[in-house]
């Protein structure tokens, strides 16, 4: 269905080859997963399939890509619209209509299909992706998961033979992600659709993949069955890491496989009784009776919460449950809130300038919002001047967090992980008592995530500071947080130690605990350390 023959790609003004001499044939009805570190060219590979690269982006392409026999060099991306449906990394940026129904028909209208065909297909796709109740809704009012489904539906509705998705679950909560992926799985099996997905959160997609294409960022690619590629890859989901840590001879990719392989282990080992860490730190954040109203709807209702020093608290919940609202209220930038939020005894609404920087550090969902310098160096110097600390301090922090960033690079040109590192070092340079992060792991690969976890734990433990983090990433929460708060409809549903909260619902359980259930292990590190204790 898709055939890459000797494909190489170089972008202008760049010295690195994105893809070198790639030969790949994807057959009909195959689900291929593209993995690789951040910024390695996964998106480029996907966009090569319908010719957006190089038609839209420029770049030098050698070799040939043919989809269903049509070479992408000869037609524009639009000429393949009937064959390929493509869903970008951020579907909200690609919407061209106001309501769900208008969005769905946009592609069909462009292909000049007759009215009868369009009517039939709209109904069909509304049912397929369970969008029927939303058909007349304005797209802007939908949640992230719903928007993602609309984007997939509008790519599906023209009956393409190939569906290309760039990180379809990165913005979704675990349950919405599960829903989207199981729909894709069904489409592959029922309609023999060919699907190509790029994704960082392997734990979510790995069980659906037929083959993996691994891009290393320096041009070389490896193609193979999931078991082959994951055997010696650096990017592996926790489940494979667990298999490696236990020294299993086989690689288990699904929870079911690994449970079969670890049956004996589970029967002979018991996790050590963790002494319940009671937090003795004094209260840092005191939220009482918080209410936030948006457009007449309550985003947060009568919420009370106290967070102590050196706690790492994860806030979880569905898309649109009020996580970001709560974070903004704690940071004191929520306009429509009532109630009191005290950080270090100070009203967070009234913090300004230096005092604010030294009290609260905030990393927004788009870390680049914080950055405005023309180069990394300029950005770091500005932070030094703002905080009246010796020049070079921020630079040093950055070098510790993410080594190897050139000072002359423009913040825009950094990879997702590097940009987060830069924003983080700018914020950390003022040494805040509280660090707040909103969804920091979007677009981060496993290695970048590991670095982030290490930094945050050190920040909290060594400097005795608190971290509050809102995220959908269950694995991150398992490894990082000491306490988890679960929010639904603006109310706290669960609040307790991470292990208690995560293990109480199967949808939010991390992979390791699914494999090890009923034994309460959360992470690979937990399993390894309890093995050591036994020895």
């Amino acid at each position: 269905m898709i055939k890459f023959s000797n494909v190489s790609l170089i972008y202008p003004n760049s010295t690195t080859t994105v893809i070198q001499d790639l030969n790949l044939e994807i057959t009909e009805g195959e689900l291929v997963l593209v993995i690789g570190p951040t910024g390695s060219g996964k998106s480029s590979l996907l966009r090569l399939i319908n010719g957006l690269v190089p038609h839209h982006t420029g770049g030098i392409l050698a070799g040939d890509i043919a989809v269903d026999g049509i070479s992408t060099a000869l037609v524009k991306p639009g000429g393949l619209a009937h064959l390929i449906g493509i869903v970008g990394q951020n579907p909200a940026n690609g919407f061209v209509a106001d309501t769900v129904e208008e969005e769905l028909v946009f592609g069909m209208e462009a292909l000049n299909l007759t009215n009868e065909v369009m009517r039939k297909r709209v109904e069909e796709v509304l049912d397929l992706l369970s969008l029927a109740p939303l058909r007349h809704r304005a797209i802007a009012t939908l949640s992230g998961g719903e928007q993602q489904r609309v984007a997939i539906a509008s790519a599906m509705v023209t009956h393409p033979k190939v569906l290309v998705l760039d990180e379809p679950t990165s913005a979704l909560d675990p349950i919405a992600a599960e829903e989207v992926l199981s729909i894709l799985h069904r489409l592959v099996h029922d309609l023999s659709l060919t699907v190509v997905i790029a994704e960082h959160k392997l734990e979510r997609v790995i069980q659906f993949a037929d083959r993996i294409v691994h891009i290393d960022g320096e041009g070389s690619t490896r193609i193979g069955l999931p078991e082959e590629i994951l055997r010696d890859s650096l990017l592996v989901p926790p489940i494979v890491e667990l298999g490696r840590a236990l020294g299993l001879s086989e690689i288990g990719i699904t929870v079911r496989e690994l449970r079969r392989l670890t049956q004996e282990f589970r029967e002979t080992h018991v996790p050590p009784n963790k002494s319940q860490e009671t937090n003795s730190g004094s209260t840092l954040i005191d939220v009482s009776n918080l209410n936030i109203v948006y457009d007449g709807k309550k985003a947060i209702e009568n919420l009370d919460v106290k967070i102590a020093e050196n706690e790492i608290v994860a806030i979880m919940g569905r898309n649109g449950a009020g996580k970001s609202s709560l974070l903004r209220a704690i940071a004191g930038v929520s306009k429509n809130s009532s109630g009191s939020v005290k950080v270090c005894g100070l009203d967070s609404q009234k913090l300004h300038g230096k005092v604010r920087r030294e009290t609260i550090g905030f990393i927004p969902q788009e870390p680049s919002d914080l950055l405005y310098g023309q180069s990394v160096k300029q950005e770091c110097e500005q932070a030094d001047i703002d905080n009246q600390i010796p020049l070079g301090t921020t630079d040093k922090i950055l070098a510790q967090l993410v080594p190897g960033i050139s000072g002359h690079a423009h913040p825009r040109d950094l990879s997702e992980g590097q940009r987060l590192g830069l924003a983080l070092s700018v914020v950390l340079s003022s040494n805040p008592k509280l660090l707040i992060l909103d969804e920091p792991t979007r677009g981060l690969d496993y290695q970048a995530k590991r670095v982030l976890i290490k930094i945050l734990i050190e920040f909290a433990r060594v400097f005795n500071r608190s971290v509050v983090i809102a995220t959908h990433d269950v694995e991150l929460v398992a490894e990082l947080a000491s306490r988890t708060i679960f929010i639904a409809d603006g109310e706290i549903i669960a609040d307790g130690t991470t292990i208690d909260v995560l293990l109480s619902s199967p949808a939010f359980a991390p992979q390791v605990s699914k494999v090890m259930s009923p034994q309460p292990w959360l992470t690979v590190a937990d399993v390894v350390s309890s093995l050591k204790i036994e020895k």
Partner: protein, 248 residues
């Protein structure tokens, strides 16, 4: 939504008509009166959509333009004789720039003429701001003929990305405030403008890519799923606009 949905071209045609009438009447008082009526119309009719804010933005922009024009009009320009309000020293210019004078007597006539010109220009800008805040750019695109393809893409990008800028500004300002920065003044403007420009550029590229990969403009013919028809109310509004042009 209980408000009636108009044909997307209605308000644009109406605005064109009104703009022509403003230009023909050429009276600042008429222009201000029209802007007043249009403002009432916009604030009662607009939906809660991102592009609805463009009217308020054009209003703010207009005030800037008028002020700027008044200042420049006072400083530079042909001296109009009349009541002298005050004098500013004349800036000596080199001999190869004849006919241009900076400074000198500031007369009441000069001030009023530059302000009233400013008002007329700005009222036309505001009228089109009103049209764009009353019409969904996406619906507009659907009724435009396909052969103005490039134009169509630019319209969608301009009209859907620019309003999104408004929400991006709020978001970036919040982030900057969280970094403990001031959010007003010239330095702050630069701090907001840089990420904003970058973001809007990448958004526009995303949108253009999305439209392209969905086959926009590939076929010369485009089918309609739910054709948007001119209703009686649309005809009424447009004839009213034409009537105003006729009377002016």
């Amino acid at each position: 939504m209980n408000k009636p949905r108009f044909h997307p071209l209605t308000w644009w045609i109406f605005s064109c008509a009104i703009a022509i009438s403003i230009a023909r009447v050429n009276s600042p008082i008429y222009a201000i009166a029209v802007v007043g009526v249009i403002s009432v119309l916009v604030f009662t009719q607009k939906e809660n959509a991102p592009w609805s804010k463009s009217f308020t933005w054009t209003l703010k922009l207009s005030l800037w333009i008028i002020a700027l024009r008044a200042i420049i009009g006072v400083l530079i320009g042909v001296p109009i004789p009349g009541t002298v309000l005050f004098r500013i020293p004349i800036l000596p210019l080199p001999h190869w720039m004849p006919g241009i004078r900076i400074g000198g007597n500031v007369t009441l006539e000069r001030l009023t003429s530059s302000i009233s010109e400013g008002i007329i220009i700005c009222s036309i800008i505001v009228i089109f701001g009103a049209a764009s805040s009353l019409t969904s750019p996406h619906r507009l695109l659907r009724v435009l003929p396909i052969y103005i393809y490039e134009f169509g893409i630019s319209i969608v990008i301009a009209t859907s990305v620019l309003p999104q800028l408004v929400s991006s500004v709020t978001r970036i300002r919040t982030a900057q405030r969280l970094r403990g920065q001031r959010t007003s003044g010239l330095t702050a403007f630069k701090r907001i403008a840089v990420p904003l420009l970058e973001e809007s550029l990448s958004r526009s590229l995303d949108l253009a890519a999305a439209m392209d990969s969905r086959g926009y403009g590939i076929n010369k013919k485009r089918s309609r799923y739910r054709p948007i028809k001119f209703a009686r109310i649309d005809t009424a509004i447009i004839s009213m606009g034409l009537l105003v042009v006729g009377l002016s």
